[in-house]
Amino acid sequence: MKILVPVKQVAAIDEDCVLREDMRDIDPDFLDYELNEWDDYSWEAALQLREAHGDQVEIVPVTVGPDEATDGLRRCLAKGGNRGVRVWDSALEESDPIAVARVIARLAKREEADLILAGTLSSDHGFAATAMCVAGFLDWPHVAVVSKLDVRPDAQHATVHRELEAGWEEEISVQCPAVLSIQLGINEPRYASLRGIKQAKAKPIEVLSHSDLGLESDEVGLSGSGSRVRRMFAPAKGQAEMIEGTTAEQASRIAQIVSELSRENS
């Protein structure tokens, strides 16, 4: 069984960031990248399946992104797996989850993947969409927000828990091959060892372009997307009254607010 794990380098913005000239995104100089939190969990799920079933399972982290995204793949490879795949070229800029998913779906076919485990959402833009878009393009069975996973390499079905609202879960089985989006808390992601981090540097990362995957340039980027950013802007500041002063003063103001509000309410 080959498990493909699409991961993403998410961008955090600096406090004093500025917008790009076209006002549609942040100037990239003000972005810091790190691996999406959810992807630590999807990769851990893959690692555990590999450990449980040995050579019957191959796990491959893949990403769609520029050079910076290589770090995310290395972070995964430091914990296990032998190779990664990164897809990028300038036509892929401004791809939304639909365009990114089209690329991952092609990659899944090329890799003859049997299972795709992806993070439920990404912490930067939070579409919660890419994994299930991949399922749509592949026409594969799919389950979003998986909080428990039970699958054997040769099985026709996986049994999973779907995390619902308000603490409820649904236990369902899903036919394989399948796309599952993995929720935080499904496992405890391990830390990479120093040795693993060193070894990861030597592991091959194949770099492909959209055309290597047989995609036309209008199937990716803006023209392959489901939406287009017209403009980006900072939201109106919250109405919060900021409590200044020393810690003692701040705490005593909190205590005062609490006692006033409690009195009003009683």
Binding site: A12, E15, R24, P97, I98, S123, D124, G126, F127, A128, A129, T130, M132, C133, A135, G136, F137, D139, P141, V143, H157, T159, R162, L164, E165, A166, G167, E169, E170, E171, I172, S173, V174, Q175, L184, G226, S227, R228, V229, R230, M232, F233, A234, P235, K237, G238, A240, M242, I243, T247, Q250, A251, S252, I254, A255, I257, V258, L261, S262, N265
Partner: protein, 320 residues
């Protein structure tokens, strides 16, 4: 007249309130652009929801009888796809929920719809639909448009659109869908574990801790502090996932909505959308965080940029 199609969401035979919020959003668009609001109900007995769905903006309810009582991805996608082909709505609006996370992206990818999720404002610029959503962990916002898309599928954030008051008599129609084989099989629902713990949804005063608490050993001092202050101790997701506090204490989308809370103190919680979904309605929110840019300050009434441990120590002195 062009249509706005709303897909109702329900579970265990109960209509999700988010459906009524989505109808309210559709109602606002309808006023601006003279559109018809059509609500599709996929259920074994769709008519059981008719009364609840008959709110002023709704022009038509389409009942679709389905063999499966509960939500199932493949069926929702196939049936909504068929409905869209038949009715050609300009906009399809659904709640941003665990169910829609399962079917909406796949549907949009398959049929090439315009698509955006977790949208919290909609408007028209001429004939162009504009959707507003967050970017960069809520620190920025973007306006999206959907050039050249005939149908636009949008999932809408909860607790934003005010429910409509009053009732109406929408036209009731039905739709015979062709079903597809379901590729998932429902086994059972798993109830939230009842731990015999306090029911945090009943608490009026809640002090919640998040990632900032650092390690499990630090939880106890915040439990003592909350006891001392007469507050119930709550937490954000990472704390419950780590097993430092029971899941029953977790506030947020997958945890509890603290519906009776009057004062909420958030300590070391940066304020993910998922956490805020469970507490942003609270009338008095005090946020303590070292990061002045933390998104929790965008919904707090009082903000304190400080170390939660220092504040906790001073609070202990105040309340002792």
């Amino acid at each position: 007249m062009s249509e706005i199609l709303v897909v109702a969401e329900h579970r265990h035979g109960e209509l999700a309130v988010s459906t009524l919020e989505v109808i309210a959003a559709a109602g606002e668009l309808k006023k601006k652009n003279n559109m018809a609001v059509v609500v599709a109900v996929l259920a074994q007995e769709p008519s059981t929801f008719t009364d609840q769905l008959s709110v002023p903006s709704v022009d038509e309810i389409v009942n679709v009888k389905v063999p499966l009582g509960e939500f199932q991805n493949d069926n929702y996608e196939a049936i909504i796809g068929q409905l869209i082909v038949k009715r050609n709505p300009a906009v399809v609006l659904v709640p941003h929920s665990v169910d829609s996370w399962g079917y909406a992206p796949s549907l949009a990818a398959r049929y090439g719809y315009g698509f955006a999720t977790d949208v919290f404002a909609l408007s028209y610029d001429g004939d162009e639909l504009i959707a507003t959503r967050a970017a960069y962990s809520e620190k920025m916002q973007v306006e999206l448009d959907f050039p050249g898309k005939e149908t636009i599928l949008i999932t809408l954030r909860g607790n934003i659109f005010k429910l409509e008051e009053g009732s109406s008599s929408p036209v009731i129609t039905s739709f015979d869908a062709s079903f597809v084989p379901a590729r998932t099989d429902h086994h059972r629902f798993v109830e939230p574990e009842s731990t015999g713990d306090v029911d945090i949804t009943q608490s009026e005063l809640i002090l919640s801790v998040g990632r900032g608490v650092g390690e499990e050993n630090n939880i106890e001092s915040f439990r003592e502090l909350s006891d001392l202050m007469g507050f119930t101790l709550g937490c954000s997701r990472p704390i419950a996932d780590s097993g430092w506090l029971p899941k029953s204490r977790q506030v947020g989308q997958s945890g509890k909505t603290v519906s009776n809370c009057n004062i909420y103190i958030a300590m070391g919680i940066s304020g993910s959308v998922q956490h805020m979904a469970g507490m942003k309605h609270v009338p008095n929110i005090i946020a303590v965080n070292t990061d002045p840019e933390a998104s929790v300050f965008s919904i707090a009434h009082y903000g304190v940029v400080a170390d939660m441990f220092d504040i906790a120590e001073e609070l202990r002195n105040q309340f002792e």
